[in-house]
Symmetry: C2
């Protein structure tokens, strides 16, 4: 199954457009896990098992593993996901961007080493920096377009030939790069108007939408701006708000994650 | 010593503006190294020892290590460089770009884990995606500006408020981001006219210039366009043309690398 098929099936079967970002920060782990050599894997595994029926994808953020010399635990997490939840796509959040020969190496890292179904990439270096990922026809390539952070406007909102740069990126990906129907875009929930503009440009292309939860984006405005005519098309990402949800009334940390994931999924489905 | 001080001292003391990119591809290693578990470290070590007096910096490209699960060998190479050639800056070529909390993790990866003196970053996500690297005041932050690949023009050459996007990036880095004097820019040798434009905008800021050697950029045009008034300011990078130089008359592979590195350094100094 291709990435797009897996994602569409997950939208359908699970009625969820929630994506959980795996950004493991050991300082925030429950006390009993702290200091153990496989704490990162153990933490992520518990979150995965508690929430897998509620999501359309998991999105590990590679930086959190790289900073801690924990690539081996990222490999274990991906292997676990593929074994236990093979129907759920893994989106590796790497945001790479480099010349072709180097991009080939990064594509191997994402798709071969970690077995990711999709990877995020940066468009700044243009088509030939993205092409090596596209050669993996069954995988997804999710291009940064309008990011959720404040500085996103520094370049993405520059007026380029009469329209903001991010709209050029959306049109370029939709009309030129997406020849095999495997592309998606990253568009932040913090800018619902721009999200609606992108949806207008790209038709039914899947959008990865960070920025709800800890980053403050509004779920209702996001859903209304980002959904396709069929009411799907989104991976609305939440990381910290779910991973480090505050336990209530004797819940375990994983139960708290499940409760917040459920609330978030239902809030998405409400609109 | 800060990155900029190290780099300036290397330009001065070694009379070299050559940077060697470490892009280890085991398929191209000499026969006797193939299949050994530490072949990547051993190959890079021989190149380093054969060329360290000829360069102003080494630039490991992290993708080549990541694709091969060889982060441990990259750690060894960086540790070896710091021990044996502490006066030479290590530029980690990673081209990361992500929101602040994630960029903090990538900065730890580059500066703490690998001990790099400088790292390459991508400007697409704007200032707050670069700021966490700038907090490491003694390190260098080298921002992609005008890249050497063909697709570089897709975005970087878009007309943005009357000038191409890459010139916005150059001005933004020079006038806003570089408050601590620790920034540099990546500008490809394949576009000497644009290199000259960037030099005009950024004054004496160091430029990392890929694209000579295997990518075909002309050394004379590069030097004339890229140097500062003092005749320095450049890290002119060559990777494959030096690493995989063809041996002549019974040379070892490392001797061939040295010969090509020497020719390249001298060609840079000639103009």
């Amino acid at each position: 199954m291709t990435f797009i098929e897996k994602l569409s099936a997950a939208w359908q079967d699970r009625r969820s457009q929630l994506c959980i970002g795996l950004d493991p920060d050991p300082a925030k782990f429950p006390g009993q896990m702290q200091g153990k050599s496989d704490a990162i894997f153990a933490f992520c595994k518990e979150v995965i098992d508690a929430t897998a029926d509620l999501v359309c994808a998991f999105k590990p953020q590679i930086a959190y593993f790289a900073a801690l010399r924990a690539e081996d635990q990222l490999e274990e997490i991906c292997a676990y996901l593929k074994k236990r939840h093979p129907q759920l796509p893994i989106v590796l959040d790497a945001k790479r961007g480099d010349i072709g020969a180097t991009a080939e190496q990064y594509a191997r890292e994402a798709f071969e080493r970690y077995g990711a179904d999709a990877v995020t990439v940066n468009p700044y270096m243009g088509f030939d920096s993205v092409q090596p990922y596209l050669e993996w026809k069954d995988r997804g390539v999710i291009v940064l377009c309008r990011t959720s952070n404040e500085g996103g406007s520094d370049l993405q909102f520059l007026n380029s030939d009469g329209k903001p740069l991010y709209q050029h990126v959306a049109a370029m990906v939709a009309n030129k790069w997406n020849t095999n129907g495997q592309c998606g875009l990253v568009v932040g929930a913090t800018f619902p108007n721009e999200l609606a503009q992108v949806r207008e440009i790209v038709g039914d292309m899947p959008l990865l939408i960070p920025g709800i939860g800890a980053q403050g984006g509004d779920i209702r405005a996001t859903v209304e701006a980002g959904r396709t005519k069929a009411g799907t098309g989104m991976m609305i990402n939440s990381s910290r708000a779910i991973l480090y949800a505050k336990s209530e009334g004797g819940e375990s940390f994983a139960q708290a994650s499940r409760r917040v994931a459920l609330e978030t999924r239902d809030a998405i489905n409400r609109y």
